[in-house]
Each structure stands twice: as C-alpha cells, then as structure tokens.
Amino acid sequence: MTAIPAEPDQEERLQAAFDATIARRDRIEPRDWMPDAYRSTLVRQIAQHAHSEIIGMQPEGDWISRAPSLRRKAILLAKVQDEAGHGLYLYAACETLGVSRAELTDLLLAGRQKYSSIFNYPTLSYADVGTIGWLVDGAAICNQVPLCRTSYGPYGRAMIRICKEESFHQRQGYELLMTMMRGTDEQRAMVQESVDRFWWPVLMMFGPPDAQSPNSERSMAWGIKRNSNDELRQKFVDMTVPQAKALGVTLPDPDLRWNAERGAHDFGEPDWAEFAAVIRGEGPCNAQRVAHRRAAHEEGAWVREAATAFARRSAGEGGR
C-alpha cells in the first residue's frame, strides 16, 4: 500500500481499494470501508428482500388453517415458517450495515420501504399455494441464485442458505399442482384459474424493463445485482414454458411463442400501469398486508417489553 498523507487522498485510496475488491469479484465484509451509496443501496435492497419474506408469509399462511390434508398442512406450515427464518437471516445481514431490525420494521410499517409487489395480490383458492410455490418462488429463485455471488459477504451467505430452502419450496408447489391435475375436473380448473391470475403479476416481480430501471446499472457495477431485470425475466419464461406443458396448464399470453432466431421465447408485455399502481400502494391487498404486520408488531410489544424487564431483573439478581 502506498503511503498517502492527506485526508482527501486517503478517501481516494479507500475508494480505490474498494473498487479493486469489486473488480476482482471478491467480497466486501461488514468492517470494510464502503461508499455511503453502496451501503444505502444494500440496506434498501436487503431490507426490501427481508420485508418480502415476512409479508410473504401472509398470502400462503392464510391457507394453513384450511389445508385439505394433514400432509399439506404440515408442508405449508413448515414452508411459511421457513419464510420467517429467511426474513430473520436477511434482517441480520442488514444489521451488519448498522440498521436494527426494529428500525427496518418501523420503515416497513411507515411505508418508507417496499416489499415485493406480488404479495399485494390475494390468494383465493388452495391452488394458489401451489402456484405461489411454482411461479412466485420460481421467479424468486431466478432473482436470488445470482445473489449468492453478490459482492456483500453477509448478504451472499444469507442467500446461499435461503436458496437451498427455496428450491424445496418451489418443488412442493409444483408437486401440489401436479397432484391436483391428477385429481378432479374441478381441481384442474382451479389450477388453471390460479395460473391465469398469477402469471402477469409474477412477470412483474423482475421489476420494470431495463430501460426504465434507474438503479440497475450502478447496482450491477457494484456487484450487488448480477443480472438485469429483462435478462432474468427472459430466463424465467424460458424455464417455465416446458414446466407448464408438463403440468398441462396454459400460460395466459397469446404472444408467447418460441423464437428460433433468438433461441428464446417471445412474450407479451405485462401491464406496467398496474405494476406502478400496486407499487404506489393501490394493489388489492397493500393496506391489508401492512395492517396485519402492524397488528402483530404492536400486539407483541407488551411481550417483548416483559421479556426485557424479566431479563434485566434476573441479571440484577445475579443472573448474568
């Protein structure tokens, strides 16, 4: 390392060391120097991801009480429990950047941080549990697998653990739909209706088209993001088409067809006006999801306080 006397130069030197770490695709760790914008971008992205896991417990969790077999009830409860765990890992990764879980929860409840728009759509039948596993978790996996190699160490390590569990989530969803497709006509219709309802919102999960995605370029340069929105969306469509065929459902897009020239599927454009509305808070369930989370948080306050008081008292009695 070259000795550099003055303050501003030291800042430059730190920036250079940071840039070099990114350039050789090495990881940034919590105690490393990092640009403020890198830190704030990470906090925003990891928090949004954590909130998505926690809010995402609701649409499926709503069906635990109504799961139609004991086996499905156990699988669904274990899955939704996993999501609580994923949220917990991600909040912890965010805490390495100096923001507490309580602060992040406040930001979520105040509407100042977002979560995935998909969870602002309702779940209306048990087939939705399968569709969420297959398509929503499938899309999430497309987004998340590259994040295992993200430049921020704690985030990448959380993602490795999460991806490992997510692949089983996708499996259980697909397996549920396959089983239902072997059932009655009513069940097959239920599956198709569910896929019809979720297909477009799932495509929106990858975010706006690259041309309209303001933060993407910098995030990619920093190695926080590894692929563009459109790349991931294309990848998801190409991966899903044969799965839909094997399942025996149609995807509700008249423009969906194989393009031999591109070696990829062409597909229609999601309704970006609807996407924008849901992001603005006008989705079918935005208010409901946040209210549910707020109620749990506020109704739990006296419990958290009691445990803190008890711990303090025990420590005072010579516990710690």
Binding site: M1, Q10, L14, E29, P30, R31, D32, W33, Q81, G85, L88, Y89, A92, A93, E95, T96, L97, G98, V99, S100, R101, A102, E103, I141, V145, C148, G153, P154, R157, A158, I160, R161, C163, K164, S167, A301, R304, E305, A307, T308, F310, A311, S314, A315, G319, R320
Partner: protein, 97 residues
Amino acid sequence: MSADRREWPLYEVFVRGKRGLNHVHVGSLHAPDDAMALRHARDVYTRRNEGVSIWVVRADAIAASSPDEKDPLFAPSGDKVYRHPTFYDIPDDVPHM
C-alpha cells in the same frame, strides 16, 4: 446494548454440526437473555436437526480485529456492535440449484 432499546439484544449463534467438529457460526438472532437465546437458536437454526451442540454469545461481547490492521483509516464505527460477523458458514455443497 442494541442500537434500539425497544429491541432485544443481538446474539451470534454457533452450532457443532456433529461430534468431532468445531462449533461454527451459523447466524444471528434476537433474544432477551442467554437462556432465551439458546431456545431461539434451537428453534431457528436446528429445525432440521443440524446441530448437536449450540453456543450463543451476545454480539456486543465479541471482540474483533479489523480486517486490514495496517489501514490507518479504518472507520471508528468499525467497533460498533452492529458490525458483527454474520453468516460465516458457507456449506461445502453450495447449491447450483
């Protein structure tokens, strides 16, 4: 103490996967005290029976070296409790998915 006084303090969790191995850092959690932290660790990190032995330690009790000791400008905030080590387990079989 935690950055936020309404919040239970942060704990780091170490699990011995099986006899003969070291305890390895697996992640973090919040708990009001040591006893509850152990219970939480069992619930959160050994749901699939991964561990036979669990250690928990409050994150603010961990002393840490800076990553590059020659670095004169290592930020003072580096000593803040929230800059704790986390998720140090990288499984051998990183899933290709």
